[in-house]
């Protein structure tokens, strides 16, 4: 008796098509070096050490009076906020008539290992704010912090509330004990003193490891299967490669800053308890009294909503708004949802106060 295996010919066709795509990929895909990450035209208006202050060129005739400074995260580079024209956070805000500045923290080297929270908050961020105030002749600016950049921005506005008119906290890292992500679990068990003493700066390899344990099979398999399936779709491939290039560009974090970061936020959770000090000054969240807009992503697996939301309840502001979006950490800032929902809501809120 003959046994007959029945395989649907459409399945075979799919397998053959996928194999062809894998073979054709090198001909269809650009090398990472060929992709420029600078999308929206800008000028570098200030450079201090390795940091750069970017001023984006206006895309509208009329602009809102108050400029907006974006304090990007310490992990990876600011390019994700301007990853491609149709998903660009920066471009969208420019088209809504905002005057946008971005603080690029640069790539610290071994000699920057002693840079600490004080240098970032009262040094680089404060210098940028002062520069923008002078250049725009504004007494106050609007400040947006994203992820770890929001922690730095939060510390800044408690110490310099006179300079900030509006505060936008996007996925801010605030309450380390409530954070339910894998990152916080690793951070809580880390001997950060030893790491900084021996290695100096937080090495990018450590960050790559942290990324690799976040949804490892979705990110490590499914993502690439989809890439090969869509190899003929130029738009998809371009978007994929840009995000991949951004993911691979992880600068080290200065040792002293990293040490205080892990201890004060994840291990001792001092910020939300109003027990944190930066450069000898007390960080009291109740001192935040300006309008504040907190944006949280429900599916955020890097900074869980439970870690971000406490900021909304801890500040002294009367004019405060909390918005939750059905997306992830990156989806909130660089996706079609961010263009159609997150940014219009933010733009409306900011315009009414700028």
């Amino acid at each position: 008796m003959k046994s007959e295996s029945k395989i649907d010919p459409r399945i075979l066709e799919e397998i053959l098509k996928f194999s062809r795509n894998v073979i054709d990929a090198p001909k269809l895909v650009s090398a990472p070096d060929e992709i420029s990450m600078e999308v929206t035209p800008h000028d570098i208006v200030q450079e201090i050490d390795k940091t750069r202050l970017l001023h984006y060129r206006s895309l509208t005739e009329k602009q809102h009076k108050t400029p907006l400074l974006i304090s990007y995260a310490l992990i990876n580079r600011y390019h994700i906020l301007d990853i491609q024209p149709e998903k660009s956070w920066v471009r969208n805000l420019l088209l809504q008539g905002f005057d946008i500045y971005m603080l690029d923290w640069g790539s610290p080297t071994s000699m920057d290992k002693y840079l600490d929270f004080d240098d970032y908050v009262n040094g680089y961020l404060d210098s940028s704010v002062e520069f923008i105030k002078n250049e725009s002749s504004s007494e106050k600016i609007s400040l947006q912090g994203y992820c770890t950049g929001a922690t730095i921005a939060t510390a800044y506005i408690t110490l310099h509330p006179e300079s900030v008119k509006n505060y936008v906290a996007t996925a801010p890292v605030i309450d380390g004990w409530r954070d339910t992500t894998v990152i916080s679990n690793l951070a809580k068990h880390m001997d950060v003193d030893k790491m900084v003493e021996i290695v100096g700066n937080m090495p990018p390899e450590f960050m790559y490891y942290c990324f690799s344990v976040l949804k490892p099979f979705e990110q490590g398999i499914e993502k690439y299967v989809n890439f090969f399936k869509n190899i003929d779709n130029k738009k998809f491939v371009d978007s994929f490669l840009r995000v991949e290039k951004w993911l691979g560009d992880t600068p080290p974090i200065p040792g002293e800053l990293f040490k205080q970061w892990i201890k004060d936020i994840y291990q001792d959770n001092l910020l939300i308890q109003n027990k944190m000090f930066v450069g000898g000054s007390h960080i009291d969240l109740k001192k935040i009294t300006m309008p504040i807009f907190t944006q949280v992503a429900v599916g955020d697996h890097l900074v869980s909503p439970e870690c971000s939301m406490p900021l909304h309840y801890a500040v002294g502001s009367e004019d405060k708004t909390l918005r939750m979006y059905p997306t992830g950490h990156v989806g909130m800032i660089a996706s079609s949802l961010s263009q159609t929902k997150v940014l219009p809501e933010l733009g409306k809120w900011l315009a009414e106060r700028s």
Partner: protein, 162 residues
């Protein structure tokens, strides 16, 4: 080395060579001790991964018979496999037992790096080059000087404004 006959016998570069060789040997012995600890935690690390993999695979095997035999069966199977594996591994990475072991593993890895740094320092010093600690001192001093200059510049701006 202070007595005259000893000093006479160990004068010159050979004296430094002997002392450096001793330092490097000590570091190599200590590396072995750290390596034993490292192996213990790395074994536990892979044990946890392997156990989680086995449990997840069993869950997938139980679900496989429910996958309909149609054109989408490969995609359906892949979805089930990825969902179960991601859930189980995230649960592992979120657990205290993983966090603790991973923390100890990294700590041992850092100890190994420290021994390597110490050996490098001996070699650097034998070549009359500054050690890592000495370079760190320079970095620290630079950082402190930059801070002082920035503060002075701010003060100067305030005075000029008045």
């Amino acid at each position: 080395m202070s007595s005259k006959p000893q000093a006479l016998a160990s004068v010159g570069p050979m004296r430094a060579f002997a002392s450096n060789a001793k330092k490097i040997s000590t570091e190599l012995i200590e590396i072995n001790e750290s390596l034993i600890g490292f192996n213990q935690f790395v074994t536990e690390y892979y044990k946890q991964l392997a156990e989680t993999w086995n449990v997840a695979q069993k869950k997938v095997n139980l679900k496989v018979p429910d996958v309909p035999h149609d054109v989408e069966q490969i995609d359906s199977f892949k979805r089930i496999w990825i969902d179960i594996f991601d859930n189980d591994f995230t649960e592992l990475f979120d657990s205290v037992k993983f966090g603790e072991n991973y923390g100890k593993l990294v700590s041992k890895e850092l100890e190994l790096t420290k021994h390597w740094n110490n050996i490098s320092n001996v070699i650097l010093q034998s070549a009359n080059l500054p050690s890592k600690e000495e370079i760190d001192e320079v970095y620290k001093e630079l950082h402190s000087l930059k801070k002082r200059v920035t503060k002075l510049e701010i003060e100067l701006k305030k005075v000029n404004k008045k």
